[in-house]
């Protein structure tokens, strides 16, 4: 962020704290989000690297690091099960709500979306700032919860009651934290939708929007409509914990030999419904912006238009819509009848189709391209097969008959990490490498980037591929020590392999962290405002973009990916360029109809 200071063009000076701390500029807020989120990603990953020790070498003291922790959590360096559960729950929560969503939506969305639509800022800059700071508070609450008596939340990121209701104080903090995070996302999503609908530059009809903007737009609707039910559920779980209500507590509970003193009459499954009503759309919130980033970078680096732009757009809109009615595939094993389970299996199968189409379109975009293997492109290219593995392994989970064996095993962990880690995280890395020059005026180092890429790719697979087999063997997730079971002991070797890969993956990130900070000060300066020779509007601004973004309000004359247009003088025509004397409307485009939203 400090780097950002140099690039400012110094008109109407604001005091430091208004410019960089309580800023209302979408770019500053975007960077604040991104940096905070990167910190959390690293933190969440560190939690996981600790857990991986216990998984690989159950019950053995953790060398060196183990001694840093209190005797409550790690007596003689050995992790206790409570602490393992805390780390697991917080890893999930932090990665999803404090890492990926803030980076993908808060960071990239805030920074790039207004630029790509040619807007001077977000529609509600103050709200935008509020959204960041509410997020920040949520993050602080989450972190602080590690220090309350008996530690942080330990009932999984899903916080299923009754367990979560009878859990120690950390859970209450988790709930307050979630309330803050959800509120922040809501504020953000209102802003994104209004900005996209109301503030597109002249000529930028909906079907000329970059794919990334579409992805963010659909994502915003998911955040807007899926998050409130969890907020309500969170409030109810808080009531259960604080006011002693029984929303999620059935009658007749006997905990550790004591009849529980609650009125009863609640339903534990109700929580699961409300949670997954949020959390399934949420997983698409994790993937859609990633797909958007990949779309941008693939088009840019193949030097040809994305294959089937409209199909892609329809696919993500459909994906967003469907994601609201598949949630119960997380609940197949709760005793669901045939009719309902068939309904949810069918919707789950249906929702996989648009993903297939999107991936197909990306792959077809390569055909006939002139592919530049830049660092961002490498990450995107890896995204495609990695997401495919993650997506394909979703299919056996989506059918009850196979989920019967695979539910809540490491196979599930493998499935979704393939989509979120070598999938989303790779796309986010790609986005950082890609937009870094816009934000800082300097390129990131290529050699370090390539090292980062290849090591990450290898070790990511080393972490998650073994999990598929561990899960197939039947090993449950959230298991402190799988050697307790004969079939777990059998595959312990694979688990150890995962762990070693995870630690190596951690080391591989050093390339990135060094590159990130080094390039900020010492990276090669960009020679033009458009170092990737891209078409979209964010490259039409000065570098870094000043407050207010554009020198002159851009006027858009064409679609987003006009690369290698036959007969054009260069292999790309920016969206706002009006060369060849052409001013407007090369093809007959219907007037923008904002009504066809998700």
């Amino acid at each position: 962020m400090a780097e950002h200071a140099h690039g400012d063009h110094g008109h109407h000076e604001l005091p430091f704290w208004q410019k960089y701390v309580f800023s209302t500029d979408h770019k500053v807020i975007g960077i604040q989000y991104a940096v905070t989120a990167l910190f959390f990603l690293l933190f969440g990953f560190c939690l996981m690297m600790m857990m991986r020790w216990q998984l690989a070498y159950p019950g053995q003291p953790m060398p060196w690091i183990g001694t840093l922790f209190s005797a409550v959590n790690m007596p003689e360096g050995i992790m206790v099960p409570e602490f393992y559960n805390q780390l697991g729950a917080m890893h999930g929560t932090i990665m999803v709500f404090l890492g990926v969503v803030p980076l993908a939506v808060g960071g990239f969305g805030n920074y790039v979306l207004p630029l790509q639509i040619g807007a001077p800022d977000m529609a509600f800059p103050k709200l935008n700032m509020a959204s960041y700071w509410v997020f920040y508070v949520g993050g602080v609450i989450m972190l602080a919860s590690f220090f309350v008596p008996e530690g942080a939340a330990q009932s999984g990121w899903t916080s299923y009651p009754p367990l979560a209701v009878i859990a120690p104080t950390g859970q209450t903090w988790w709930l307050w934290g979630m309330v803050a995070l959800i509120t922040s996302s809501l504020l953000g999503s209102v802003n994104f939708i209004v900005t996209t609908v109301q503030m597109r530059a002249e000529g930028l009809s909906f079907f000329r929007l970059p794919f990334f903007v579409w992805a963010q737009f659909v994502t915003a609707f998911l955040l807007l409509l899926a998050f409130p039910p969890l907020e309500a559920a969170g409030v109810m779980q808080l009531m259960d914990r604080i006011a002693g209500t029984s929303f999620f507590m059935p009658s007749g509970l006997v905990v550790t030999g004591q009849a529980l003193d609650v009125s009863g009459g609640g339903s534990p499954l109700l929580w699961q419904h409300l949670f997954w009503f949020l959390a399934h759309p949420e997983v698409y919130v994790l993937i859609l912006p990633a797909m958007g980033i990949v779309g941008e970078i693939v088009a840019n680096n193949t030097r040809r238009p994305l294959w089937g732009y409209r199909t892609l757009v329809y696919s993500i809109v459909f994906l967003g819509f469907m994601s609201f009615i598949v949630w119960a595939h997380h609940m197949f094993m709760t005793g669901m009848g045939t009719t309902i389970s068939t309904f949810f299996q069918a919707t789950t199968m249906i929702i996989s189709i648009p993903s297939v189409i999107i991936l197909t379109a990306f792959a077809l975009s390569l055909h006939g391209g002139s592919i530049r293997f830049t660092v961002p492109m490498l990450f995107c290219l890896a995204f495609i097969p990695m997401f495919a593995i993650g997506g394909l392994t979703g299919l056996p989970l989506g059918l009850t008959a196979s989920d019967l064996h695979l539910h809540d095993t490491y196979y599930v962990i493998g499935h979704f990490h393939y989509v979120v880690a070598p999938g989303t995280i790779f796309a986010l890395f790609a986005g950082i490498y890609y937009w870094f020059p816009k934000a800082t005026g300097r390129m990131m180092n290529d050699a370090l980037g390539k090292l980062h890429f290849w090591t990450s790719l290898i070790f990511m697979n080393g972490v998650f591929m073994p999990m598929m087999f561990v899960g197939m063997a039947g090993v449950s997730r959230r298991l402190y020590d799988q050697t307790q079971y004969a079939y777990g002991a059998q595959v312990q070797g694979l688990t150890a392999m995962s762990s070693w890969s995870a630690w190596l993956l951690g080391l591989a990130q050093i390339f990135f962290i060094v590159n990130f900070f080094w390039s900020m000060r010492k990276g090669k300066k960009v020679e033009s405002d458009n170092p990737w020779q891209a078409t979209t509007l964010e490259w039409a601004t000065p570098t870094p973009p000043p407050h207010g973004n554009f020198k002159d309000t851009p006027r858009v004359c064409r679609g987003p990916y006009e690369y290698s247009v036959p007969g054009a003088s260069s292999d790309f025509i920016p969206q706002h360029a009006s060369d060849n004397g052409q001013v407007d409307q090369p093809e007959s485009e219907p007037a923008p109809t904002p009504a066809d939203d998700d």
Partner: protein, 105 residues
């Protein structure tokens, strides 16, 4: 939305009418509830029906939905779809499941 003062004055008359209607309907709801209708379904339906009319009046006139722009409708239509899913599916799932709710341990 540059409405003339004259139009606004017309609006005001509508607001007063709506207010009256809402007041009357409130009395009706309460009144009906004292009738102690046997069928639970009927009671619920009547109550919800009246509430919907009242809600419709508020949304339609106070919130100007009757003359609102398309885009607002699209947003609301979408919301209504998911609202319906949220209202129906959890209960349907729970009560068509194979489990029986039991007081027993």
């Amino acid at each position: 939305m540059a409405e003339s003062a004259e139009e606004i004055r017309k609006h005001v008359r509508v607001y007063i009418l709506v207010f009256a209607a809402l007041a009357v309907l409130t009395v009706v709801t309460v009144g009906v509830s004292y009738l102690k209708i046997e069928s639970v379904a009927a009671t619920v339906l009547i109550a919800l029906f009246i509430a919907s009319i009242k809600g419709g009046l508020v949304a339609g006139y106070f919130m100007h939905l009757v003359s609102e722009k398309q885009i607002i409708f699209w947003v609301l239509a979408l919301t209504v779809v998911f609202f319906a899913a949220l209202m129906l599916l959890p209960s349907v799932t729970e009560f068509s499941g194979v489990g029986e709710l039991e007081g027993q341990v």
